[in-house]
Symmetry: T
């Protein structure tokens, strides 16, 4: 197991459909500028409510990625 | 941004199918008596187990709503 | 309500598709050796990331079961 | 297991004698206006001190009750 | 020290000027319908940001009040 | 002080009378199969409520015991 | 309400019988040297176990007392 | 409500006068390089003490900003 | 940077006007008997409420000071 | 990445010399009966004190291991 | 097991070499004025950084000692 | 004491030998691109286990650095 160093960033992804999709949306946006993402941890799950319905899931995640040598 | 005051209530919703539905069920029931709900935050996710299967999702949420002027 | 005694175990289940399935997978594996499981509580939700996609959901749960008399 | 929705309220009960009585006192007062209380969780245990003696136990509990259909 | 029972509610007050005013605004609104408020505890301090300036303080408090005999 | 290794298990004991008895009930049941229990820590205190009365105390404890050499 | 300043100390009291007595024992010992104790908060409840029985309750409390002018 | 993705950064601002100013100072410095800051959350409030006086407030905040499409 | 050893004490200061003044009041009282205070951390912010108004801020802080060689 | 299921156990290891050795001692004892241990997380670090010296490090860890198919 | 009463104090020890030495340094300084120290618990581990190197370990511990009869 | 503004980043460093070295490895890698690092705080200590041995220490730290004027 290589002695990598990892950095963590915190993101909030959103989706109108599921918690899983909100998380994937955050990762997809981050992947444009961050390479080597390895894992995520869910920090907080919230939602926006309109007329008694969840209109948007808002999931905050911490993402770890390898710093390149 | 108007200087609203918000109140929070804590609810547990249940569903036999998904975590998201358990949350929506809690909101739908609350909407009968609470107006102006704006956001929710997931506090705890539990489940009832029967014969090694999750038979019911139980999700506790905090809901914020605007107090009317 | 009988005065049962319960024991708790902590498990991590995994799934490539949803958070709910990762939890059910942990229960199904535990059910081979643990009887009388009654409830679960989600402790942590993580994911493995490959090429900017969640390739595996990893959900840690605490499970309570009745100790037999 | 019916798909009930539950609401939680937070109370502080007091007693000069025991922690258990402080909790029961909070429930007894709440029962005048709240029906269908199902469970409680102890959140915080405090006490008032006079002349080096605990003169009053103050126990904060969260109580869950079924919202009627 | 009388053996009162207390109930807690959670509110978010807002202000464009100070943290203290946001808290007082929440209390003033609550005082229209809640009697016998005795203490508050700050749970969370947030702010809305516009153009790099805090445009609104949002302070969430828990408020305890005596339930009347 | 010998360099023992300890293992922890988590249990929930129940009682209709006191918090202390619920804890002792959990220990008594565990003692049938676990030797060398040394200490306990209270993790959570809950109760079942029937008709506005605590009908059962439910106390979750962590118990440490020495692993035999 | 006078603008007093309070100091907090942390103590662990012990008892072979109840949680309440362990707390009172800590206060009684502290009262020999500390004046003006006003309140306590339970921080942790542990126990020593011998032969599957709780042989000693160990309750850690925080105590607040008024600093004299 | 657009499905934005947000990133969070953590900053400590300082001020010799008030908690609010320490927070605003952190935002003002961040605004030189970060666009679209939307909200802040106070994580920790500390102070430097000289000769029994608070000589500097040190407030750590988490700031969320929209990632541009 | 000298290898000092620090001790921490916990205090609650009060003020009728601001959170900052409550903290400074605690420090000013402590400075009569404690030398070399270096930093503080806010642990809890509470208030006393009279007639729907915050009549007293009560701020609990932890203070670190250098133990003299 | 195979969809393994993991179980967690909690152990306290001890050592007279270092924190790292206390952890390794816990793992070495567990390895006699537990196969496929994959990771550990430090939960708490304590020590026994004799005559002002740390005479024993006591480190509590959570260990995850793969449940065999 | 005697029914002792214990008091806790919180200290930060420092060292340029290891975490263990920082803890022992705090105990050694405290032992000049505190008798009967029995255990310690690590609360926080920090470090001072100079030129990308840890120049000082700063470990905050809670220490329990027996109050003499 | 200058009114600096600080930013925090979160890193995980690894080492096959000690917890301290894992932390230093994270700082050394970060120092290639981050100037003016001032302090660190340990957030989590984990380890990879192979054949009952800790094969790699994984320590997550938060690092604070001065933002240049």
């Amino acid at each position: 197991m290589a002695n990598h160093i990892y950095k963590h960033i915190e993101l909030t992804g959103t989706s109108t459909t599921t918690i899983e999709e909100a998380i994937q949306n955050a990762l997809s946006r981050a992947a444009r500028t961050v390479r080597n993402m390895r894992w995520l941890q869910v920090m907080e799950t919230r939602g926006h409510v309109d007329n008694g319905m969840v209109s948007q899931w808002q999931v905050t995640i911490k993402v770890g990625f390898t710093l390149e040598e």
